[in-house]
Amino acid sequence: MPLLQVSGMTHYFGGLRAVHRYHLTLEPGEIRGLIGPNGAGKTTVFNLITGIHTPTEGKVELEGRSIVGRRPHQIAALGLGRTFQNLLLWRHMTVGEHVRMAHYSQLGYGLIGALFGTPRRIAEERRVAENSMRLMEMFDVARYRDFLVGNLPYGAQRRVEMARAMAIDPKVLLLDEPTAGMTPEELVTMIGTIRQVHRDFGVAILLIEHRLKFVMELCRRIQTLVFGEVIAEGTPQEIQRNPHVIEAYLGKEEIA
């Protein structure tokens, strides 16, 4: 059984068709790339899978269970972690608080514990703090744990976001342009980080990326999205040679 299966997913924003019959079959432990020119609907695909928008048509199944129509926090708690293209961090919170916050769905002490500081809450929060510390060390942000995120270098902010996404204990990790705005050195670090996440946690990864070099490095299979439709799917080599992909990226010869 595939881990994440999307079929026939279509979405309209008003009259505008943003995604048309998108399909995806993600096996456990796979790294899949999703490329495409600007405005192709890559981020919309992520938002549809994670429940921020509900698809107009189509099925999204995680481990055989349909997740269409559930609220984003429920979908996330089922095991879909994600990062955002433009770094959605909480600017008044420290790095440690970010990672601890993502354990929200794993807490069981409820309102009584929150209001009265019961022993159960103390025990649970201690466990969360330990797990957060482990994650922060893994992503090399532990030394910033009491810093507000805004004071961190850009690369570290990216890693905080990934540590946060991993704290929800996901089965699938959706990375939305993890290297946007990065220097070439930071990019190399990021490749290492993603490899490590993949190896240590065994999560399946779906990756949006602009830079072909980066995707070619990490993914066995790549999908190309143009105007909301998958126009090509295959290994990096096949994608590189595919005339439709070349056309989408560089334009047709006659027009260019």
Partner: protein
């Protein structure tokens, strides 16, 4: 894992900046500050107790010697504004009775109190808290014992602390803008009053008492909780439509709610209509109000420091990210909103039993402005800020009472200045870490454990 990025450059972080500044030779001001920085909270409380007892035993005598007409009630401010000639005497009184005893006792006993604080620090935090709170209560009890006016001001201040803190939960921690606090307060005040008047009091609205008055003081907490719950129920009515989307909806709906509650009460004859309700039993004594205020601070502080409470900050800073990180934002918002309303309701119930009279006019736009001022003056997203804001705005407003109408120029000017120089308030975004506050303080050489 490799890491190419540098740690944040030092000049940007406030922590390091402070350390750099400390290396320059200390000025007189800094030396005074560092000499007081070794005083633990226990030391300050001892100093305050000492000052209170000095006033109790020598206050009248001293006031007479300084040609003051009577004991200065609120740090001599009322006297200073009424008869400017007496400003030096009033200042002398304040310095002799408050400033010198507090600082001297606190500083001189710092060694002893530090050692005591260290002992308490090793024990359970609850015991340490109770001892500190007990000392504070003693000081307040004897301070207010000298004047009924002081007692009233202090009770109202404590109620204002509860209101401010509960509104800060919504406007600060959650980052929404709610205007319905006077409405929640009214719901609490009227619900609690209805219970106490109906059951324990012979009054014109509900007739003779049903239960013996001796039960009253035991049932009063229940009446207050009932007031709180009815306010929370009102909050649910506001929350359901307004938390569907983000934006200004809550501000508009909650403002409407405040006016609806006010005009509803005005038009219900069985609640006394515009003339209000009077004759509530005098159960909001100082210990009762103090205990409820402490409970409110404790509960709200517990909440905002838990992960469930921190979720408020997350959804304020970015709701989409909070949802993606498994936070149930709608539930979190409604819970916090109802919690804030609950405490506003309890505060309203206490208020009704302090004033022993409520009318709908009390819970209008002016009360809203006061509470908002306290929240934004003290500081958003901060328990200490709320306490500070409520106490200072309330005291300032009482102290400036002799200025009459000009008071309403001075207070807004102060607020405008705060908004210009500290837009989020004076003590915004602080953690209220009780353990750190009560901890023994050590100087460089250090004394105590």
């Amino acid at each position: 894992m490799r890491h190419d990025d540098q740690p944040p450059t030092d000049s940007k972080t406030p922590m390091v900046e402070f350390a750099v500044r400390a290396q320059t030779p200390p000025s007189a001001m800094q030396r005074i500050r560092s000499s007081f920085s070794v005083i633990p909270m226990l030391g300050w409380l001892t100093g305050i107790l000492c000052a209170v007892f000095i006033e109790r035993f020598f206050g009248d005598e001293l006031a007479y010697r300084l040609y003051l007409p009577k004991l200065p009630v609120l740090f001599g401010c009322l006297i200073m504004f009424k008869t400017p000639v007496l400003i030096p005497s009033a200042l002398a009184y304040v310095i002799l009775v408050y400033v010198i005893p507090v600082t001297a006792t606190a500083r001189l006993t710092a060694g002893l109190t530090n050692r005591l604080a260290a002992i308490l620090d090793r024990g359970p935090i609850a015991a340490s808290c109770l001892i500190h709170l007990g000392l504070l209560y003693l000081a307040l009890h004897y301070w207010t014992d000298l004047s009924d006016y002081r007692l009233l001001v202090l009770k109202l201040t404590m109620i204002a602390v509860m209101l401010t803190l509960s509104l800060n939960l919504i406007n600060g921690y959650m980052g929404e803008f709610s205007c319905s606090h006077p409405g929640f307060m009214a719901l609490g005040a009227y619900s609690a009053s209805t219970v106490t008047l109906l059951l324990f009091s012979n009054d014109r609205l509900f007739g003779a008492a049903v239960l013996p008055a001796a039960w009253g003081s035991y049932c009063f907490p229940l009446a207050l909780i009932f007031g709180g719950i009815s306010a929370a129920a009102g909050a649910l009515l506001v929350a359901i439509p307004s938390f569907r989307t983000r934006g200004d909806y809550l501000a508009i709906i909650s403002l409407a709610f405040m006016f609806i509650v006010k005009s509803l009460i005005e038009n219900l004859e069985w609640l006394g209509g515009p003339r209000g309700m009077s004759g509530q039993p005098d159960w909001s004594s100082l210990p009762v109000v103090y205990a409820w205020m402490v409970a409110c601070i404790w509960v709200v502080n517990n909440f905002v420091r838990s992960i469930y409470g921190k979720a408020l900050n997350a959804l304020r800073d970015n709701e989409m990210a909070a949802e993606a990180m498994t936070v149930n934002t709608r539930k979190t918002k409604i819970t916090a909103f109802m919690l804030g309303a609950f405490w506003a309701g309890v505060a309203g119930g206490l208020f009704a039993h302090v004033m022993r009279f409520v009318n709908p006019g009390t819970f209008g736009i002016q009360r809203l402005a006061e509470v908002l001022a306290m929240v934004y003056f003290g500081g958003l997203n901060s328990v200490v800020g709320s306490i500070f804001g409520a106490v200072s705005i309330n005291l300032i407003s009482e102290m400036l009472r002799p200025l009459e109408i000009y008071k309403w120029i001075v207070i807004p000017v102060i607020l405008i200045l705060v908004m210009i120089y500290r837009p989020t308030g004076l003590l915004a975004f602080r953690e209220f870490d009780v353990k750190a506050i009560l901890r023994p303080k050590h100087s460089g050489t250090g004394q105590g454990a």
